[in-house]
């Protein structure tokens, strides 16, 4: 066990934890924004992320990868937009449970379609040579993507915060998430705002998928389910509706999970890495239901 606590090992665990956290953060933002506005757990978001990965494979088979990335972003954003219009918009006045069930249905559809298209074979994500360069940190060799992920996440978050705080659409988003009905009465185009949320969420999911699948290159039709659920847990953990909260939650979950996986195998506990995430969720929900940074929601009677 003494060997375990070598600096090299610790660094390698921390690095992969931080990069996993960054990737989860990019998915978690999509969850938290949608929830903030629609009060909907968008179960299909993880599958949109998986589809973005598959699109990456298929498009890059036809054109060079650097042209493929913008195409994939456009296609995935279109998919996110379409899902909102087709599956959530018709149910705007329906009970919340129906919308959530519709989300589960979309997720089911995306997974089954992916199985049909790929024929159930695991697909391998193309190598982006820039991201897979090996670098050395404190004697641990790792891919460049691991270093880039947290930096890129922070840059994107900064941009997003600017967008939300200083643009008209951002203001509209904040208004809608505060009070849906009133903002409608004030003349805000609700549907545009909601679509915009899905567009931003999907675009970030594409960036997340590029980083995630470069690190973990095999894609199966269910590859999005677990990262999706974990990202949602991260969003709840940080306080749903709060973007910095989601990011911090994602990093905490990513790091905790890799630490658990890295615990000595003699303890035989690494199987509980997913279970731990859920236990953390139940724990936080019980003791601080609004999450770390969430605002206290008041019930409307």
């Amino acid at each position: 066990m003494e060997q375990l606590i070598s600096a090299e090992y610790l660094v390698s665990i921390l690095l992969s934890g931080i990069s996993l956290g960054g990737q989860l953060a990019l998915i978690a933002i999509g969850y938290t924004m949608v929830y903030g506005i629609l009060r909907l757990i968008n179960f299909a978001h993880g599958d949109v992320f998986m589809v973005a990965g598959l699109l990456g494979i298929y498009v890059s088979a036809a054109v060079p990868i650097y042209i493929a990335i913008p195409i994939v972003i456009v296609l995935t954003v279109a998919l996110g937009f379409f899902i909102e219009r087709a599956a959530y918009k018709p149910l705007r006045s329906a009970p919340r449970m129906s919308v959530m069930i519709s989300a589960i249905g979309v997720s089911y559809l995306l997974e089954n379609t992916a199985t049909y298209v790929t024929g159930g074979q695991p697909m391998t994500y193309p190598t982006i040579s820039f991201l897979t360069k090996t670098v050395n940190i404190v004697g641990t060799s790792t891919k460049l993507v691991v270093i880039i992920t947290p930096i890129l996440v922070l840059v994107l978050i900064a941009l997003l915060t600017q967008l939300i705080n200083h643009t008209k659409i951002g203001m509209a988003m904040r208004a809608v998430s505060k009070d849906f009905e009133t903002s409608r009465l004030m003349g805000i185009k609700i549907n545009t705002v909601i679509s915009m949320t899905f567009v931003i969420g999907s675009a970030l999911a594409v960036v997340g998928s590029i980083l995630y699948f470069t690190t973990y290159p095999a894609i199966t039709p269910t590859a999005g389910a677990m990262p999706g659920l974990k990202a949602f847990v991260a969003a709840v953990f940080g306080g749903i509706g709060s973007i910095p909260g989601a990011v911090i939650g994602a990093f905490i979950i990513g790091i905790c999970e890799t630490i658990i996986k890295g615990l000595p195998s003699a303890w035989n506990v690494s199987v509980f890495s997913d279970a731990f995430t859920f236990a953390l969720l139940i724990f936080i929900l019980i003791f601080k239901p609004t999450g770390l940074f969430g605002e206290k929601a008041t019930d409307k009677v």
Binding site: L4, I13, Q121, T132, T134, N268
Partner: protein
């Protein structure tokens, strides 16, 4: 709007039922037919392996689509039942084959679904020939289940001995999927053998759906593993290989028969990793079969897609091919395509296929004492035969005896 949709839905339903009825009747018309059930996953986690196994059966069927019994010629028809790689779908898939009136069943890839579907075949009195389901409990307690592959304990024995002799390994790190009977069974048997021979085994599991293997591989490295044993399903194997390559893992990887797959081979090509897998068949074992199936795969885009886009032959394909001919051999010997006759004759059937000679013991398991160990030639992206191992496990009583019945 609603009404239009409901009319369309009803129409679709009606059409599908018609199609259902017509597809049923088309098989009934025409010449005499013997049906062989293909109980394989073509969706779900094991779809990749299941499709390759089916490929072998389809090729065999294209080779010998007819059989002459007592002067009468029967057409042999493959009937597919997709068990979706999941135990809750397996019983209904199995009974869809029973309903279709098959005389014998081949499959499945994956032991769990075989165990879940087994009782349906037993009730209907249809013998089933397992192709690559290696868990001891598939045949134990089910007299209608046979299999032509070796068992987990034999495979683990071969690999453990190989690790000791080839690398003089002292410490083995075993990584499997939590809750998967295939992975955990092999690891448990590997541990028994390896520890009995004085080695140290570290076992570890990852949760289903996991994709981050970096932490596990780093741990293997830091805990001083001489070999890393990963008897996991194909998608995880690809993931592990890819991540190991970027981490620069030097310890050799040992894999079970699932890793003998061209997706894995593709993943390891061009890396510095070492991978050794134990398997049922080595390309070159039967040149005639090799060239035939390669032509068959390259001939159809669907077969090519099912084989993962290239024509490297997986062992499961050869096994599927052999299973088909074992069934035919039984029909010839029984002089009939009747399920009860086949069941009576199967225990005494022997057949020499491309993967070696096949005979059944009292339990219905194959009498096999040979496993091929091959290694991945990472420069050329091909498998190279490392050694042919003959196990000693046949005499040992590590496997459960069928004392329950």
């Amino acid at each position: 709007m609603k009404r239009v949709i409901s009319v369309i839905l009803v129409l679709c339903m009606a059409l599908s039922l018609c199609a259902c009825a017509s597809s049923g009747s088309s098989a009934a018309s025409g010449e005499k037919v013997i049906k062989i059930g293909v109980f394989e996953p073509s969706s779900g986690d094991s779809a990749s392996g299941g499709k390759k196994e089916i490929l072998g059966m389809q090729y065999a069927n294209s080779q010998e689509p007819e059989i002459t019994l007592n002067g009468e010629t029967y057409k042999i028809e493959l009937v597919y039942g997709d068990n979706g790689s999941s135990t809750d779908k397996a019983p209904s898939a199995a009974s869809s084959l029973v309903s279709a009136g098959v005389s014998v069943v081949l499959g499945s890839y994956g032991s769990g679904v075989s165990m879940a579907g087994g009782p349906k075949f037993e009730e209907a009195g249809i013998p089933a020939i397992g192709v690559t389901c290696t868990n001891p409990n598939v045949t134990a307690g089910n007299s209608y289940y046979f299999r032509i592959c070796f068992l987990d304990n034999f495979q683990a024995d071969v690999l453990a001995n190989f690790a000791m002799s080839k690398f003089s390994a002292k410490t083995a790190y075993c990584l499997g999927e939590s809750g998967n009977e295939y992975d955990q069974g092999l690891i448990a048997f590997f541990k028994q053998v390896f520890e009995a021979a004085g080695g140290k085994v570290i076992t570890d599991s990852f949760p289903t759906g996991n994709s981050d293997f970096g932490s596990y591989l780093n741990k293997a490295k830091s805990e001083g593993a001489d070999v890393i044993f990963t008897p996991v399903s194909i998608a995880y194997a690809v993931q592990i290989i890819k991540q190991a390559a970027s981490l620069g893992i030097e310890a050799p990887f040992l894999g079970s028969d699932t890793l003998d797959d061209n997706m894995v081979l593709e993943a390891i090509a061009g890396t510095d990793l070492q991978l050794y897998v134990s398997t049922f068949y080595q390309e070159g074992g039967s040149p005639e079969f090799d060239s035939g199936i390669k032509a068959y795969i390259n001939d159809s885009s669907e077969a090519l897609a099912a084989n993962g886009g290239n024509d490297t032959i997986s062992a499961v394909t050869a096994m599927g091919y052999d299973a088909y001919f074992v069934a035919l051999e039984a029909m010839k010997k029984a002089g009939s395509g009747d399920k009860a006759e086949l069941m009576k004759i199967l225990p005494s059937v022997t057949y020499t296929g491309v993967s070696g000679s096949i005979a059944f013991d009292a339990q219905g398991d194959a009498v096999r004492d040979t496993a091929y160990i091959k290694t991945a030639d990472t420069a050329n992206g091909t498998w190279v035969l490392e050694t042919v191992q003959t196990g000693s496990v046949q005499a040992e009583e590590t496997e459960p005896t069928g004392s329950a019945n």
